[in-house]
Symmetry: D2
Subunit: 387 residues, 4 copies
C-alpha cells in the first residue's frame, strides 16, 4: 500500500478537467509510489464548483481555497486558475507546506514569477516541498524521444530551431471575448497561452536556452462581442462589444545559448490549424520534426545514413521502448491529448517520493516568463532584446 | 441522481484494461442516464484477478463468474475473454437477465454466434435485456462522420470498398505463441481478430453487407517458440516450439449488397504498420479515406466541387460538431485509442435507459461471423462463396 | 560522334507525345552511345499526322507505316498505337530488321503476345534486333531503388504485395466513350491499361512472378455517350449512347512464385485519385511503400533498426546516388511524369549499343499478358486460376 | 508559321541547363506566337562553352558575349550567370535592343538593380524592348492557383504569411566552396539565392509587398575546403581552406503592405530538406499551404464550409482547369521541377508578341532586392528596418 496524497485543485475549467482526468487515471496504469486522492476542488462560484466536483470526480467542493491550507489531509495544491491568481495561491500553498503544481504560464509577469521561484526554492530547501509548473507537452512520448535523441548526439550540434503553435479558434472576428483575451486575467494572448509552450518545448528538447529575441506582437481584431454569459472557449456572444487587450499573434526570432538560431510563431488566427504544435530542429548530423496534429509521431532524419537510403523516418512513438508507453496500449494504439497530463502526475508523484526537485521547476517557468517578457519588450522597442 | 448499474467484467487482459478505463472515465465526461458501477472483475487465476481488480479499479475480484449471475447488484456482464468462452458466458448472463457487452468476434464459429443471437433476441423481446457486441472502432468520431456522409448521399452510389488492417507484431518468426495464435482459443488469426473489424466497419459505414467473397488465408510462420510463461502480446519466449494453428494473414475480394465491390486484407506481418486500419470508399459523387495511424482525421473528396479546387479534404474530426467531441476537449486536442471504448459505454447506457436494442447487436456480430466463415470456406474451396 | 539511329513512331496521341518528348530530351541530359533521330511519325489521318509531326518535332509525317520498313535511315519502330495493331506492326518491323519499342500492354491477347515474343526472340538470336515493351514506370528512380533494396535483401523474404492503380477519369457516367473503352481496340479496360503496370512493377521490384490469381472484373457503367468527334481522354460527348465493352475495374488476389501473397486493384472509378500507383511490399526484415502521387519518394521501413528509432523513412529519391538522377537536377528538384520515358530511351540505346537484350523484353510483356489473361479467366470461372 | 526569335544564353551551369531545356521543349507543347531559336550559348571558357553548346543543344558557342550584341539573328539575351555580371550584360543587351531574361536575384545590390530597372523601363518605353527577371517558381501551377484563390477573395483578408526555403546541400562543414558562397560573385548566400524566391512568391501570391523587416543573417561554417577544380554544386574538395563570405541562413520577420505579418526563413542547413519551399497563408476566410516537396499539390482550407466537413483540401493541381496543365499530360501525371521554366518561355513569348511588359519586370526584381537589402541592414542594425 502506497502513501496517499490529498490533492486540492483550484479552478475547474478546461485545465481543471484535464488535470482531474489525470489524477483519476494515472494510478490505474502506472505504479505510483504515492497515490493521489482527489479531495477538494475549489472555485469562486458555489454552484459551479459543486457541479464540477460531481462531474470531475472530487470528494468535496469549496469556495474558499484558503481554508484548504490548514487541512492535513491535503498535501498538494493543483493550480488551474487564470495567471493573475497563480502567485497568491502558490505562495500561500508553499508557505503552508503543500506541494504545488501550477499551470503555465507560471505568472503574468516576470516579477511575480521571480517571487514564486524564490518561494519555491526556499520551500524545497527548507522543507522539501516541491513546486512544478505544468508544461505538459514535454511529457508527450514523442517529445521525450526528441530530447533523448538530441542528448545522445544523434542530430549533432543544433543549428536551427523552428517552432510554430497554430490555432484558429478566434479567426472569426465575431468570436466572443473570454478571459483569455483580457490582459488583466491572462497576462498576454497567444504569446503566453501557446507561445509559452513552444518556448518551453524547444528549450527542453534542445537543452539550450533562448538568450535574445526580436519579436513582434499583433492584434488583428481589437474589439469583440462580450460573451452572453460567463463562459470558456465556446461561449455565446452578446450584442455589446469589448476590447481585446492581448496579442492575437506573436512572432519572434531568437538566438539560443548553444549557437542555434530560432524562429517562433504563435497564433490563434491560422484557419484550419486546430492545435498544430510544430517543431523542427536541424543539426549538424540530422534533423527532427514534429507536429501535434499527428501527435504520436516523431520524424527523424539521420544524416549519417548513406544518401541512397537516407530519409526522414516516421517513428510511431507507441512502442514499449518509448517513454510511458509500456503502461498503456500495444503499439499503434495511439495516445490522445490528455495522456500527457497523466504522465505529469506520474513524474510529480515520483519526484515527491524521491524528495527530488521536479522538472520543470518554477525556475524553468520563470525562465520561460523571461523569454516572453523579452519578446514583449522587443516588440515595443522594435529591436533585439536580451532575455 | 441517475440509476446505477453494477458491472461484472470477465477477463482482464488487454481488452479488460480498455473496458475498465471506459467504465471509469465515461461518467465524468458524459451525462449518462444510467451510471455504471465497477463491481467485480472475474478470472480464473486468483492472484491475477485480484491484482487486476486493484489495478483496474474494480470493487471485487472473483474466480467464479457463475456466482455473479445471482447477484442483484450486478446488471451487466462485460465479456472480455478469448472467443472460446463467449457463448457460455453470454448465454448464462442473458438467461440470468443481465445485459451483455461481448467483445468481438462474437464467437469462434457461426454456429455459436447463431445460438448467442437467438438467445439475445429472445432476451430482448421477453425481458428487455440488451446484448451488444464490441465493435468499438465504429465509435471513432471519424467513422461516425464517414457513415453520416454516406448516409447523406455525399459520395453517391458506392462502387469501391478498400479496407486493410495492417499490424506487424508477429512479423518476427521468433515472436512467441499466445492464445491469439491458437485456433481453439481464438477461432482464427488475423481474420477474426482484426479482419472482423474492417468487415464490420465497412458494412457499418456503407450500410451495405458483404454477400459473397473470394478469400485466401495464409500462415507464413507455422511454428513458434512457446511462451516462457503465461503472457499476452509481448511475452518472453521459451526454447520449446509449438504450432501456429491460425492464419497470419487473410485477403479477400467481396461483393456487397448494394453493388459495390470490395478488397480486404488483414495481416499481422506488415512491418512498420502498427495498427493501420485503412478504409477507402469510392462512390459516384466522391470518396472517403481513413487511416487509424492518423485516427482523428477523415479524408473526403467531393466530386461536385469545381475541378479547379476539388481535392481530398483532411477533416480533423475534433470539432464540437463531430460525434462525441463536445464532451471532450477543444478542437485539435485529439482523442486516443481508448476513447472509443468510452463512447461504447455511453451508447450502451443510452440504449439501456431507452430500452432499445443497442448497435451493434449480436445479430450484427453474427453477420460478421458469417462473412469470416465464408472467407474460410472460400479459402478452402478456392472459389467464390456466398455469405 | 556517336552513331545515329533513325526512329519511326507509329501513333501520336498521349503516348506519342510522351515518347516524342523522350526522344528529344534524353540526348541532352545523358551520354547516349547511339543518338536517336526523330525521322518519321506515322498515322492514318493525313492532317492529323502532319500536325503531329510539326507539333511533336518529327522530320516527316507518313500515312503508310509499311513504307517505312524499307528505309535504311530508319532503325527503330516505336509503336504507340492501341493494342489491336501492335502485333502486325511489330512483326513487320522485326522482319525488316528494325528494333522495336512497343507500348504496353504488349498485345490484346496472349496468343498475339506469344507470336510477337517468338518473333522477337528469333530476331534477336538471328539478327541481333532488339524488342522492348514500354513498361515505363520501372524507370522511375524510386522503383529502381525499390528493386535494388529488395535484391540486396534489405526487406528479407517477401510476404505481402499490395498494389493499387487508382484513377477517376471515367467516374462520371457521362464521360464519353473512347477507344480505351472498346474491347476491340484496347483488349481490356482498367485491367490491361493500368493493371498491367502494377503487375509488371511488382514483379519487377520483387523478382517474383504471379503464378495464380483469383480475380474479378467489374463494369459499373455499361453505356456512355459516344464522343462528338474522334478524341482522346477528354473529348466532348454526343447525344448518342454506345456500349462500354471493357472492365471499369479489376481486382484480384495473387500468389507469387517466391511465396508472397498479393492483392491487386485497378480502377478508373476512384474519385479524387488521379494517377495513384500505390505499391506496398512487406518482408521478413522490412517494408517498402510507394505512391505515384508523391512520385519522387520511396518509403522504407527497416525492421533491423532498434524499435525506439525505427520508422518508415521518406526517401526523397533525387540524390545523385539514385538511378538516372545525376543527369538531371540537384537534390530535391523533382522529376515529373515524363522523365521515365527519357530513361527508357537511355536504357534502350544502351542495350542497342551493347547488343544485349533490353529489359523488359517481349517475353516479359507476354508474362504480364498471361497474368491479365488468367485474371479474366478467373473472373469468368469464379475460382483460382493458374497463370 | 510564327516569327522566330534568336536566343543567346550567357552562362551554362545549372540555370543554363534548365533554361536550355525550356527553350527546347516549350514550343512542342504550347502554341507560341514567337518561336525561340537556340542560337548561341556564351561563356568564358572555350572548351566548356563548346561542350555546353553540344550538350545543351545550341547552334553555336561563343566566348565573347559582347560580339552577340550586334547580331541581327539574335533578339533575346538570356542571362544565366552569377549575379555580379547581371548588370553589365543586361544593360548592354537592352542598349542593343535585345529583349532580356535575367536570372534572379536581379543583381547583387540595390544600386545595380536600380540602374538595371531604369534601363529596362527606358528600353520598353522607347523601343518596346522587354526585360524579365526569372522568378520561375511563380509559374508552378500550384502557385498560379494560390494567387488566383487569393485574388478571388477565397481566403479573405490576409493575416499571416509563413515562408521557408529549406535546403541541406552545405550542412556538411566539409562541403567545398563554390561561387555561391562567395559574396563577390553571389552577392549574398541563402538570402539572395533562395530567400529571394520566397520573398517574390509570397508577394506575388498575396499581392502585398513587404514594407519592413527585422532580420538576422547567420554563417554557421566560416571556412570550407576550396574546390579541387572549378565546379558547381557538387565538386570535389581540395586540402586548402577558404573563407565563406555569405550567410548560410537568413531569418526575418516582416510587415506587409496589406496588414499581414510574415515570418521568413531561408537556409542551406536543414538536413533532410532538399528543396522545401514551404508557404502558408492564413486569411480571414481560409488558408493556403504549399510545399515544393509535393510540388503539384496545393492545400486550401475554406473556412466558409460547415465545420463538420471543413478541412484542408489537397488539390492535385494537374487538372486541365489549372494553369498550363492542358498542354501537358492527363490529370495526375505530375510535372517536374523544370516545367516552370517552359512556362516562363511561354509567358515571355506571349509578352513579346503582345508588346506588353512581362511579369515579373525588372522593377519587381528590384523590389525583391530592396527587401533583401533591408534584411541585411536590419541584421546589422539589429532593429526593424524599412524596405
Amino acid at each position: 500500500m502506497t502513501q496517499e496524497l490529498g490533492v486540492a485543485m483550484i479552478g475547474y475549467a478546461f485545465m481543471g478537467a484535464a488535470h482531474s482526468q489525470a489524477w483519476r487515471v494515472a494510478p490505474h496504469f502506472f505504479d505510483l509510489p504515492v497515490t493521489p486522492v482527489m479531495r477538494v476542488v475549489a472555485g469562486r462560484n458555489k454552484d459551479g464548483v459543486e457541479a464540477a466536483a460531481a462531474k470531475l470526480g472530487w470528494e468535496e467542493a469549496s469556495t474558499d481555497w484558503r481554508s484548504l491550507l490548514e487541512r492535513d489531509d491535503i498535501g498538494l495544491f493543483d493550480i488551474c486558475t487564470p495567471g493573475d491568481s497563480h502567485k497568491e495561491i502558490a505562495l500561500a500553498a508553499l508557505a503552508a507546506g503543500k506541494h504545488v503544481l501550477c499551470e503555465k504560464p507560471l505568472a503574468n509577469s516576470v516579477e511575480e514569477a521571480e517571487v514564486m521561484t524564490a518561494a519555491a526554492t526556499k520551500a524545497f530547501e527548507e522543507h522539501g516541498t516541491l513546486a512544478m509548473v505544468g508544461f505538459t507537452y514535454r511529457r508527450l512520448p514523442a517529445m521525450q524521444l526528441a530530447r533523448k535523441l538530441i542528448a545522445d548526439g544523434r542530430i549533432g550540434e543544433i543549428r536551427h530551431v523552428r517552432a510554430q503553435y497554430l490555432q484558429d479558434w478566434i479567426s472569426d472576428p465575431m468570436a466572443p471575448l473570454s478571459w483569455r483575451l483580457d490582459k488583466e486575467k491572462a497576462g498576454s494572448g497567444a504569446l503566453g497561452d501557446i507561445g509559452a509552450h513552444i518556448v518551453d518545448l524547444t528549450q527542453f528538447i534542445t537543452g539550450q536556452q533562448i538568450t535574445e529575441v526580436s519579436g513582434s506582437l499583433k492584434t488583428f481584431v481589437t474589439e469583440r462581442p462580450k460573451p452572453a454569459s460567463f463562459s470558456g472557449l465556446s461561449g455565446e456572444a452578446s450584442d455589446e462589444m469589448g476590447p481585446v487587450t492581448v496579442d492575437d499573434a506573436a512572432t519572434f526570432l531568437a538566438n539560443l545559448s548553444g549557437g542555434a538560431i530560432g524562429v517562433y510563431e504563435a497564433t490563434r488566427f491560422a484557419y484550419g490549424r486546430k492545435n498544430a504544435i510544430r517543431i523542427e530542429i536541424n543539426g549538424s548530423l540530422g534533423s527532427l520534426a514534429y507536429d501535434f496534429e499527428d501527435m504520436n509521431v516523431l520524424h527523424f532524419f539521420d544524416a549519417t545514413e548513406p544518401a541512397e537510403t537516407a530519409g526522414f523516418r516516421r517513428i510511431v512513438v507507441t512502442e514499449p521502448e518509448h517513454a510511458y508507453i509500456s503502461h498503456w496500449w500495444p503499439a499503434g494504439h495511439g495516445l490522445g491529448y490528455e495522456h500527457a497530463f497523466s504522465h505529469q502526475v506520474v513524474d510529480l508523484m515520483d519526484a515527491i517520493a524521491a524528495g527530488k526537485e521536479p522538472s520543470p521547476t518554477f525556475a524553468d517557468g520563470l525562465q520561460v516568463q523571461r523569454v516572453l517578457d523579452a519578446v514583449e519588450r522587443s516588440s515595443e522597442s522594435r529591436s533585439w532584446t536580451s532575455v
